[in-house]
């Protein structure tokens, strides 16, 4: 299948190779949660809710007394994908993604400021069209910021791939399942450091570098957008207070 049109250079959904999908972020979508956010990357739609810092519910999970315990649960809704098969809770894929999201968020949360407490992050995929783990990390960042949890930087994530000898930014489901390489990068936006890096399939080293750079550029663009959303939200809060 042609993933990049050889004549026009456009992708299956009409994007250019280095073009991202439409982003949309909304803060405060779950009323009972301390912080929540909805994040969309094209047709991928993710909702995140943050509870905490609150008292540790299960003492045996407490690992380090001087730091907050961060927990994360990633779930894909049954109706999020093309087939409506019921997915077992806690399968290997979602356990791994939960772990990845947790460790990525932990890297930016100032956990030492909140000892004896726990922070729960719940992310749910409502619509899956590729790049769910990136969307989840972006949603979690927004939700954590909404909850007012101290962070040293905002983490944003974006994926990139390599199909038809072209590096492609922000893969959708069709491109993702084409079997080509898929590089997911998560950066600490201000410090410009890579905290999350996942890749699969085979890629020569020089090509990997260009694909990773492209994904990093994507992360930076998302960071700019997330800052705008947060700033807009803060302005509205200010208006409400009068």
């Amino acid at each position: 299948m042609e993933h990049v049109n050889p004549l026009t250079g456009f992708r299956v959904d009409g994007r250019r190779p280095n073009e991202m999908r439409q982003l949309r972020g909304e803060v405060g979508v779950v009323s009972r949660a301390d912080g929540s956010a909805l994040f969309e990357m094209g047709n991928t739609r993710v909702i995140a809710a943050v509870y905490g810092p609150r008292e540790i519910q299960n003492r045996s999970q407490q690992v380090n007394l001087k730091e907050a315990l961060v927990r994360c649960e990633y779930r894909m809704a049954e109706f999020s994908t093309g087939d409506r098969r019921r997915k077992p809770k806690g399968d290997r894929r979602s356990t791994e993604i939960s772990l990845v999201i947790r460790q990525t968020m932990e890297a930016s949360i100032l956990t030492h400021l909140m000892p004896h407490s726990q922070i729960d992050i719940f992310v749910q995929v409502l619509q899956a069209d590729g790049g769910t783990r990136s969307a989840c990390i972006n949603a979690a960042t927004l939700a954590l910021a909404d909850a007012g949890i101290p962070m040293k930087d905002i983490v944003t994530s974006c994926s990139a791939g390599y199909l038809c000898s072209t590096p492609l930014l922000d893969l959708n489901y069709i491109e993702d399942s084409a079997g080509g390489p898929d590089v997911t990068v998560g950066i600490l936006a201000k410090m410009d450091k890579v905290t999350l890096l996942q890749m699969d399939a085979k890629l020569p080293m020089d090509t990997f570098e260009t694909v990773m750079e492209l994904a990093t550029e994507g992360c930076k663009a998302i960071a700019t957008y997330i800052r705008e959303v947060l700033l807009e939200n803060t302005k509205q809060l200010e208006c409400q207070r009068g």
Binding site: E96, L197, A201, K202
Partner: protein, 276 residues
Amino acid sequence: MDERWFPTVNEREFIEQAFESGLRVDGRGPFDFRNLKIAFGREDGSAEVELGETRVMGYVTAQLVQPYKERPNEGTLAIFAEFSPMADPAYEPGRPGEAAIELGRVIDRGLRESRAVDLESLCVVAGKHVWSLRVDLHVLDNEGNLIDAANIAALAALSTFRRPECTVGGDDGQQLTIHDPDVREPLSLTIHHLPIAVTFAYFGDGNIMVVDPTFKEEAIMGGRMTVTVNSNTDVCSIQKAGGEGLMPSVVMQCLRIALLKAADITNEIKIKLSQG
């Protein structure tokens, strides 16, 4: 009860100070692997790998199954990791924990998505019968860096595995015969390349890095990255799940170091295989 081991303040400081002067507690240089030993079992498809004190056993088994609908002419390969409670006081019997799942998925991605094992040659009758390979990785002793040791165990076990030959015949051309290994020589798998996992541990602000961290180094590290590369300078998989941030230039430097290390390990596996 959480039995996880925590380093004392003294131990932590000792290890960290050693890094600052370019030393490691066990006397290795920052980019040296521990001693690698590979022992093959009496049967095909089993291998035991010792990386320093870390010990992992790999075992490959095969079964004829119906293929997935999307890929009717490809066999399947699945990796299962089990952390035996004997290996570490923190491991509990029962369902695999997060770490075991992560290990399995990282090795799975390195092997399967890079198409290291030729799965099409495992097809017997398209859409009906294909071989399904199962790699079981048992951690017997945890002295750190389980991923690299388990990856080598998986590769060594897959390299020695042989499946019985089958032929399709009979009146309707659908009759499947599996030949006894004593009658017909079993067939080895086709392995295109050996993806080698190399794990880096980061300390400080990501300024200090070492390969092949020991258990104690893992307990105090700020972040970890596993890169899987092969001897054709292809990157097969990368796993860096959060932790201390790295400059992109450091990532590329790690990849180059990993390539050198992978070449050494590939050689070692090949030598061991030729010795049988």
